[in-house]
Each structure stands twice: as C-alpha cells, then as structure tokens.
C-alpha cells in the first residue's frame, strides 16, 4: 500500500489534490475533462456534485471511486495515496472502502436480490453463510425483506435501486458514491431513495457523495460542489 497522509481538514475522508484528467491525450481528439481539481470530503458528510452534462462530474466520481486513474494529481482515500496503487490494489480498495450506486442500478439480472447483495461480499472474501446473513439484514434495512428471492426483472426501478443501495452497504464502506441514483426514477420514488440515503447518512454515519444535475437533489446535501468545464466553480 502507498504511504498514508493526513488530510488538512479535520476528519477529512477523501482529498482530491491537483487532479487533471485527459482523454486521448496527445491525439487530435484530446479532451481535458478535469482541470486542477482540489476538493476535500469530510467524514460523515452528504455532498452533492452538481453540474451540466459533460462538465466532468461523473469522471470526478469515477476517480474518487478508484475506477479511473487521474492523468496527474492524486486522491487520498482515508489517507492512502491511490495514485500509487496497482489495478488489483485499487479493486481491493473499491471492494472494502467504497459502495457504488449507479443510475442504471447495474444488478446482475440472473441473480436474486439476496444473491446480488451477497455477491459484493463474496468477491471480498466473506464466507457464504455470513454474507447471506448480512444480505438479509441489509435488504430488511432498505425495506425489501419481502423481495429477497425476486430477480431484478421482477422488481420496480425503485426496488432495484434499493437492492443496489443494500449492495453498496454490504462491505461496510467508508464512503458511498452515487452516480445520479435517482436519475431513472419518478419524482416520488426518487424522493424515497433520497430519504433513504439521507437516513443512512444521519443515522448510520455513512459519508455520501452524490453526482446529480437535479437542483432538488442538491438541496438535501450538507454541501454542494458545482463543476463546469472540468473546473470547480463554487461550493456551498
């Protein structure tokens, strides 16, 4: 593992420092997606990253989530310099430290709700019996104890997203990253999902970073970071 580092801000979980991201660097089609981004996310906070399409907010989320490597700069995740880690080390960090919630839910359609939640724990080496117990508990927490044996195709969008949230919580992550988690849901269902995320933040203490372009979603966050053309343009 790379050397640990303490964030400047007290209780900071994630620090993004001088991050630049280029796509197709050196080619005619080069795009400078993130431009010298510096931001810190406090432990236990609920942060929304807002910006129009193409502003670089999802790329920033992917870099924070160790799915993408920055072209330059670094991300400290709980004190660990992730820019120095190999692909497999990043995968391990993702499994143990981060929980993802996607707009498209991204559940495995051939698995039941229970198996989808178990999957994340099994990948991270949890024994089957323990994984099953925790998956059952988490599905109960998100209000889906009656859906454990249903497959995603037998569930509504809201229910699928609840399964995805249960999966994101399964490995007791330090931070939950949401990429437009309500983007595919109607207002009422989306509101319920946001309530659930807010509850997890307030009652369970999870740090939540949520990408959205919906100002209503931004309103429930403790902190909002505005991004445009790859640069942070404001914070609330």
């Amino acid at each position: 593992m790379a050397k640990s580092r303490k964030c400047d801000a007290k209780g900071c979980t994630i620090e993004v420092k001088g991050v630049n991201k280029y796509y197709n660097k050196g080619l005619q089609s080069e795009v400078h997606v993130l431009k010298d981004v510096n931001v810190c996310f406090d432990k236990g906070s609920f942060v929304s990253i807002m910006g129009p399409s193409g502003s670089g907010k999802t790329t920033l989320l992917d870099i924070i989530g160790c799915l993408l490597k920055p072209t330059s700069g670094t991300v400290y995740l709980d004190g660990i310099d992730t820019s120095k880690l190999s692909d497999n080390q990043l995968a391990t960090i993702r499994g143990k430290t981060i929980g993802f919630i996607f707009q498209q839910y991204n559940l495995v359609n051939s698995f039941t709700a229970l198996e989808n939640v178990e999957l994340a724990m099994r990948i991270n080496g949890k024994p089957k019996n323990e994984a099953r117990k925790r998956a059952t508990k988490l599905l109960d927490l998100v209000g889906l104890s009656h859906r454990v044996n249903n497959r995603p195709t037998q569930m509504s969008g809201g229910e699928q997203q609840r399964v995805a949230i249960a999966r994101a919580l399964s490995n007791e992550p330090k931070v939950i990253l949401g990429d437009e988690p309500t983007g595919n849901l109607d207002t009422k269902t989306g509101g319920k999902i946001l309530d659930l995320l807010k509850r997890l933040n307030k009652e369970e203490g999870y740090t939540i970073i949520n990408v959205t372009h919906d100002p209503e979603v931004g309103k429930i966050a403790d902190k909002v970071i505005h991004i445009r053309d790859g640069m942070i343009t404001g914070k609330r």
Binding site: T58, D62, G65, L67, L68, D87, N88, A91, T92, R94, G95, K96, F100, F102, Q104, N106, L107, V108, S110, F111, E115, L119, A120, R122, I123, N124, K128, R167, N171
Partner: protein
C-alpha cells in the same frame, strides 16, 4: 466463488448442454477408441505370454492362429528332424481347426488336438481346472473346454459337444486364464483330432529349448534345417505386435484428438460469447471489488466446470462404447477402459477447458469497468 461459477454455467442451459455434448463426443471417441487399442494390446500381451519361452513352428505361408493354422501340414519326419537339433528339449505337435466361422476376431471355435501329457504347453503351468478333470493319455471321445467356450454354449460336465458329426463328452472346464487363446478353445486328444481330420500330420509345433534364452537361436536352426517351415518366437511377435498396437493407438488418438479439439473449440466459442454478453456484469463485479485475478479465475472456473462435466460423461460414454466393442467382437477384443485411459480422457477434457477458457478469461479480466458500466 466456485458456487457462482456453477450458477453461471447453469444460466444458459441449452448452450452449456451443447458445449458439454461437444466435449462428451470428443472424449467419448478418445476413450472408446483408446479402449479398443488397449484391448488389442491385452490380446497381444496374452498371446505373447502364451508363446513365451517356446518356438512356434508352422508351414511357411500357412494361416495364423485365428485361422487354426490352416494349410500347415507338418509330418512326423519333420518333427523328428527338429527333435535332433542341438538345444531342443521337447517338441509338442498340435493340431488345430476352426469348427465354424473363425474369420477375423472370432476365435471361439478353435479346437486343439494335442498329447494330454503336454497340455500345459498350450494352457500354461499356472492355470488349473474350473471343474472336472484333465485329459489323460488314452482318453477318447472326451473334450476339455476353456471357460469362455463353456459359458458361451452353457456347457457343464457331462454335456456333449459335436465336432464334425462326432460327439465328445465334456470332462473338464479350464479356469478363466484371461488368455483369449485358452479361454475360447477346446482340447481333445491328438489321436481323436487326427481321426476327426483324417490326417497324420500336424498344423503346428511348439518347440521347447533346453535353455529359454536360446529361443531365437533354436528358431534360426529350425529354419536353416527345413526352409519349408517358419519358426517364430514371442520376440518376433512382440516386435510386430508393438508396432501394430502403436500404429492403432496413434491412429485412434489422432481421430479422438480431432473430435476432442472440435469440442474444445466449442468451449472457446461458448466462453467468448459468454464474456461478450456479460461485459457489463463483469464491469459491475470489478466496480464492487473484483480484481483481475478474481475475474480470470471466475471465467476459467466456468470453462473448467463445463469441460470436466464433458470429460466425466465422455469417459462414461466411452465405457459404453468399449462394452459395445466387446459385445460386437464376442469378447475377442477385450476393450477395457483402464484407470489410466479414464484419467487421460478427463485430463484431456480439462486441458481443452483450460485452453478454451484462458483467452476469454483474459479478455474478461481486461474489461474496463468504466467503459463496461457506461457504454454497455
């Protein structure tokens, strides 16, 4: 995680079934043909043991064992001349004929006539009787039969076997020797045989040397003495048999190998398709913590499960094929699936699974989770 691999294999049942079927056919062919080669090997080995330590003499150009040495006509004068040769301990004249059929592998009708005191030369020293008694000098109208011969005709002591319209009473059944030549034959005394065939000559001679190491020299001496005779030892036979068995083995493994490789291509095709269809799922797995090794292991496990299943069923199908071969050849070719052959079949299937699975597994391990999640 292996249980997830099983679950994924079961996901596309018909595709998995067809892929397994491809491996089953390939491995089944390898095992069935391999058992045939093993059977021929066993047959030759038993014949080799049968002719060990002695020289087999017949008329040059006459037929071999499977024809009852037809056309071989050795006289008493020739026997006496061989007895006079240096190093010859004993000469045992034998008459054989095929009662019916007897072409190809059907050696169940071979009737042997020899002096009862020398029956051990034909049967072997270690083989006793299953029931009844042995032929004795002076016996007439009696017959001793091999176990397979008796079983195939349901014979018991006291039954009558008719040869060329002459009835012979069964007085002895030889215990199972696993030598096809003995188990499938029937013995009568030389005098009965000569009466039956209306001849005073012999179809072959077994020449026992004083020193077992001199069999080759004795064989050369016999041919030098009488160029109308052909003298062979088990070394000559072993050379030919090994050559024949090796050629059959190579041919059969080549045929089976081609069939199995086609099955292996089926595994490759199935796994490539599976990985292409599951790119997003693989992306999700990587996003939630699966390392490249986890994904590689997962896909390779699925490929190995398919091939192992195909291998095991293929060995069973090959065993059925071997059984059919035994039935078709009426036991003449004891086609057997040895543990080594079964293990070869399963290991070959696993190797096909590993080779067929490694490329798709590598492809899967290289899936970029961001690309897979965003664009698939």
């Amino acid at each position: 995680m292996i249980d997830l691999a099983f679950k994924n294999v079961k996901r596309e049942k018909s595709r998995t079934f067809l892929t397994v079927l491809g491996i089953v056919i390939g491995i089944g062919v390898i095992v069935a043909l391999g058992s045939f080669a093993e059977g021929i090997n066993v047959f030759f080995q038993s014949t080799l043991e049968f002719s060990a330590g002695k020289v087999t003499v017949q008329q040059r150009g006459a037929g071999g064992f499977q024809t009852g040495f037809s056309g071989s006509d050795i006289t008493d004068e020739q026997v006496e001349a061989i007895k006079m040769l240096d190093g010859v301990k004993e000469v045992v004249p034998v008459n054989m004929y095929i009662e019916a059929g007897g072409i190809g592998f059907d050696i169940q009708m071979i009737v042997v006539g020899l002096d009862p005191s020398n029956s051990n030369v034909f049967v072997g020293d270690d083989i006793g009787l299953y029931s009844g008694r042995e032929l004795e000098p002076g016996d007439s109208g009696y017959i001793v039969v091999g176990k397979d011969f008796a079983d195939s005709r349901g014979l018991v002591i006291g039954d009558t076997v008719t040869l060329k319209d002459t009835g012979f009473e069964v007085i002895g059944i030889i215990e199972k020797s696993n030598n096809a030549n003995v188990d499938s034959s029937a013995m009568i005394t030389m005098s009965d045989m000569q009466d039956l065939l209306d001849t005073e000559s012999y179809s072959l001679l077994y020449v026992i040397p004083e020193d077992i190491r001199d069999v080759e020299t004795i064989a050369d001496r016999i041919e030098d003495e009488d160029d109308s005779l052909s003298a062979t030892t088990n070394k000559d036979f072993a050379r030919t048999a090994t050559d024949v068995v090796n050629r059959i083995r190579m041919f059969m493994f080549a045929m089976g190998g081609i069939a199995a490789v086609i099955g292996g291509l089926g595994v490759l095709n199935t796994m490539v398709m599976s990985v292409l269809e599951r790119r997003k799922e693989i992306g999700v797995m990587k996003a939630i913590g699966a390392t490249n090794y986890n994904v590689l292991f997962q896909i390779l496990s699925e490929s190995l499960i398919i091939s192992l299943l195909g291998g095991v069923i293929g060995v069973l199908v090959g065993q059925i094929g071997a059984f059919v071969l035994v039935v078709v050849t009426e036991g003449a070719i004891p086609a057997t699936v040895t543990p080594g052959l079964a293990a070869t079949g399963i290991l070959f299937a696993m190797a096909l699974g590993a080779i067929g699975g490694i490329y798709p597994a590598w492809q899967a391990a290289r899936v970029d989770p961001v690309q897979a999640l965003r664009y698939e």
